[in-house]
Amino acid sequence: MMATTYTYYPGCSAGGVGRAFTESLYAVFERLGAGLEELEDWNCCGATAWPSVDQRQAYALSARNLALAEDRVPGPGPVDLVASCTGCYRALLKAQKALEAATPTSVRLRDALAAIGLEFTGRARVRHPVDILLNEIGLDRIREAVVRPLTGVRVASYYGCQLVRPFATFDDSRNPTSMDRLVEAVGAEPVDWPLKARCCGGSCYCGGPVIGAMPEATMQLSYALLREASKRGADVVVTICPLCEFNLEGFQDRMAKRFGHPLDMPIGFITQLIGLALGIDERALGIHRLLHWRLPERVPAGEEGGVHARA
């Protein structure tokens, strides 16, 4: 099979809080025969405070990235632009939809691109790695590549807000299951929990729940997630958003103090989990960057452990 190479948009978190995500993403894609090539000269996706100041300018930032991707890959086929950070993913996707619509905004954006000698022809499609893993690489290929099935590991997938909202391109916005299917493919056991797409509070943390804008709200939201995951018997929580991961992982001791309940939930990225099952070296997956990571003792197949999602 010919290896597909995807254009990769790292965004600002890829080298920072999302470093482990980036490392594991590259490693897993490579192992599965898919390449990632960083988009040259990419710029900010505009997901930050831009949209509340000037939505059009925010679109223009993303539009440039989309047009660059088209410019880089010769036509006529579609160009998949893979964005791992869900903030980037949503911002780019939103700009893509704005460009595709027959609206004055679209015309303005195209004019803006023309001013820098770029063009959006509709070939660029923003994709998330989960979408690629599920719908391009496919569960079969992942299952075949598993060398170390994570049998008995109970995994709560946490989707966060932006992967499936406002655009549910490859999964249900209220009851997403795409990560659960990946979890199943690597031999682990998905934990069904009702909070998998509930807000983690990351958006109001702005520097952490202690010094952020609304520390109390953030702490409550994050705590509810961790508590419920642990109540449903999850051994680990995996996510796809660098901000969620940071938020859930980084302040567990403070939450424990605030709510008087001990917390020690391993948090990681779905790509790290997959990478482990594929037998990739832990260091290559950035496991050493995680604060709480550990996998439980294997539970022999057939035995049930932990509390069930539904009685």
Binding site: R174, W193, P194, L195, A224, R310
Partner: protein, 674 residues
């Protein structure tokens, strides 16, 4: 050989002595004049060939506006009329009548739509004015070539078909039958009654649904003027207003309707000792046997055999105790589909609705949590003839102590159905009342807006409030079994923003009722194709005009009643059914319909007999005379599409009011001047 050309197009200058065209530009208040420079359009029109009069007026459709046209016609200033105003679909008939009233042929009229097509859709005033001029020029150029057409009529058959036997169809059928017309009432289920027959009580009076519906159902069955066909559906419709030929398929019940008395002895005798199959009538909340009757008052009271469940059909091995139990020898396992074809003058469509599929909103947990119910399921629980004999109990048999009713499920939702389903607020209040009355539970209603417009409706809301039902104003975010506190353990938790107190609330309940909205029937698109009417992309049938022709359709002779046209409660459905019946009666009692004016015709001398047109006509309106080698159009059957005209390779076929010459002139007109 060299005689003059055999065919001439209709003389452009008719008997009335050469075209003198009057152009009337409507302001439509500010609807047109606010954007289009009406004076400039008038000046422009005055410069066009044959235009003798160009005027503008505030409202051309008003009496004084029409009088302007009529006066100019009477004064001999004009003999052809162009009105530049709204869409021809809106007022073409009005102005044709005005033209006729002025003593001119109504076909000497053409409309230019400078409102829907110009002023309402164009941002820039100058551009709008230019576009309006172009459309006026097109109309002027074409009307100069319009021919005189005499309106043609066709008789109307007195019989009527009503499709759908819910409350709307029942009421329409009874009204028509009482007026002495013969009615064929076609229902695809095994009984008439529709959704209403499933309800226990009706809002706001809380009268028993069965008490008011079943007498009407019996009246249908007993009425000498009604032929009731249940378990039947319409398979084809041909013809036109006043003369439809409808083919109806009757599905086999395997029990003869003329013999079965509804004694139900066969059901008791069935080899299945207990129900085993989901009872559709009870929304799957109970089980039935392979031989069953939906409910005791089903009309007709005839049992039906479920072929897919019956052991005899599945294995061919069954003692058939049912047959032995039947004293009337009504069983007929050899029954097959049969067909009837009837000729009717008018058709009333009352095909009803379905409810929103609650599992499409997984956040509300339907199908995930057993104690989340749809409102229709709760209607069945409340119904004394339902699966629990009217008891409100949870799946485990216990009584709920707190119940949450979520309004607008699937309605007013950009992700699902954008419309308000109109009945949910009221039925949710009714359910709140009844649940509270029967169980004493605390009831919470979660609503976005409380919509109670209707006689006695607001008063009903007031009454429910006083009964102590809790009202939480806010859209429910989700239903979850995640317990955030010890009080929530073991309950379902409804999370909603309470916009009246400005905070998010979590309310633990035992039972959730989803007030599912009203949707078009899943096969609405097929049905409308069958009857050649239109519907919105969502599937509700489109009325001819939302205000002025609410029960008519774009196809003459086909009328709408009930929720197939849009969400409606029972009073509205019945009122509309009466209106549809009245419209049908008006058409029948007038005795004739005016036929399509823009029919095709073939110049016999010009026809080479190539037959290109013959096979193209979807309505079989073109016949070919093998002897004379000429095709001709039956103008009564012709519906005026012009397919044959577009295809006729030698120009022998033309279409009244849409001749090649007229359309080519309109093309020139819209391009030539502006």
């Amino acid at each position: 050989m060299l005689e003059p050309e055999s065919t001439r197009p209709p003389a452009p200058i008719s008997s009335n002595g050469g075209p003198k065209i009057g152009v009337y530009v409507c302001h439509c208040g500010l609807n047109i004049a606010g954007k289009v420079d009406v004076k400039a359009v008038v000046e422009f029109a005055a410069s066009l060939p044959h235009v003798t009069v160009a005027r503008d007026y505030k409202f051309m459709c008003s009496d004084p506006g029409q009088e302007l046209i009529q006066q100019d016609l009477r004064d001999g200033l004009v003999n052809r009329v162009v009105v530049a105003s709204c869409s021809p679909l809106m007022h073409e008939t009005t102005f044709r009548r005005a033209t006729a009233a002025g003593g001119e042929s109504p076909s000497h009229f053409q409309m230019a739509s400078i409102r829907e097509h110009v002023s309402w859709v164009t941002a820039d005033g100058d551009e709008a004015t230019e576009k309006a001029k172009a459309l006026v020029a097109g109309a002027v150029r074409r009307v100069a070539l319009h021919e005189v057409l005499e309106p043609r009529q066709s008789p109307v058959r007195p019989d009527v078909m009503v499709v759908g036997g819910g409350i709307a169809g029942i009421h329409a059928a009874l009204t028509l039958a009482d007026a002495g017309k013969h009615v064929y009432l076609v229902e695809r289920e095994t009984t008439i009654g529709g959704h209403m027959a499933k309800f226990d009580k009706t809002f706001p009076t809380l009268d028993c649904a069965a008490c008011i519906l079943t007498p009407k159902m019996s009246a249908v069955r007993a009425h000498p003027n009604i032929t009731l066909w249940t378990f039947s559906d319409v398979v084809s419709v041909e013809g036109f207003a006043g003369d439809f030929r409808v083919r109806v398929r009757h599905r086999p019940r395997y029990v003869r309707e003329d013999l079965c008395t509804g004694c139900l002895a066969c059901i008791d005798a069935c080899v299945h000792k207990h129900g085993k199959f989901d009872d559709e009538w009870n929304e799957g909340l109970s089980k039935r046997k392979p031989i069953y009757i939906p409910f005791p008052q089903a009309t007709p009271p005839v049992v039906v055999v479920d072929r897919d469940a019956c052991i005899w059909f599945k294995t061919g091995k069954c003692p058939r105790t049912c047959v032995d139990a039947c004293e009337r020898d009504a069983f007929d396992f050899e029954q097959t589909e049969t067909y009837d074809e009837v000729e009717v003058g008018a058709i009333v469509l009352a095909t009803g609705y379905r409810t929103f599929e609650a599992s499409k909103m997984p956040e509300y947990g339907y199908g995930l949590y057993p104690n989340v119910y749809t409102s229709l399921e709760v209607e069945r629980l409340l119904n004394a003839a339902g699966p629990t004999n009217g008891e409100i109990v949870l799946r485990d048999g216990s009584r709920p102590r707190t119940v949450g009713i979520i309004h607008c499920v699937g309605s007013r939702d950009a992700k699902h159905n954008p419309w308000c389903s109109k009945v949910c607020c009221m039925y949710s209040l009714k359910l709140a009342h009844m649940v509270k009355e029967r169980t004493g539970a605390e009831v919470y209603n979660f609503y976005i807006d409380m919509r109670t417009p209707g006689k006695g409706y607001e008063e009903f809301y007031d009454r429910i409030l006083k009964e102590g039902v809790h009202m939480v104003r806010g859209r429910v975010a989700g239903v979850t079994d995640e317990a955030a506190s010890p009080e929530e353990e073991g309950h379902l938790v409804i999370r909603a923003e309470d916009t009246l107190i400005g905070s998010v609330r979590r309310i633990p309940v035992d039972m959730v009722i989803l007030a599912v909205g009203i949707e078009p029937q899943p096969d609405a698109q097929e049905v409308r194709r069958l009857f050649n009417i239109s519907c919105g992309s969502e599937g509700f049938f489109t009325e001819r005009h939302p205000k002025l022709a609410p029960v008519s359709t774009f196809t003459d002779g086909i009328f709408l009643a009930g929720a197939c046209q849009g969400p409606k409660d029972i009073p509205d459905s019945v009122a509309q059914a009466g209106a549809a019946a009245a419209e049908a009666l008006a058409m029948i009692d007038r005795g004739h319909v005016t036929l399509e004016a823009s029919t095709a015709f073939i110049d016999e001398a010009a026809c080479s007999g190539c037959k290109t047109c013959v096979g193209l006509c979807p309505f079989g309106a073109i016949t070919f005379d093998d002897e004379r080698r000429k095709a001709s159009v039956n103008e009564v059957v012709c519906k005026g599409c012009g397919i044959c005209v577009g295809a006729c390779p030698s120009g022998a076929a033309q279409q009244h009011l849409f001749t090649d010459a007229q359309i080519l002139s309109e093309i020139e007109g819209v391009l030539e001047y502006v």
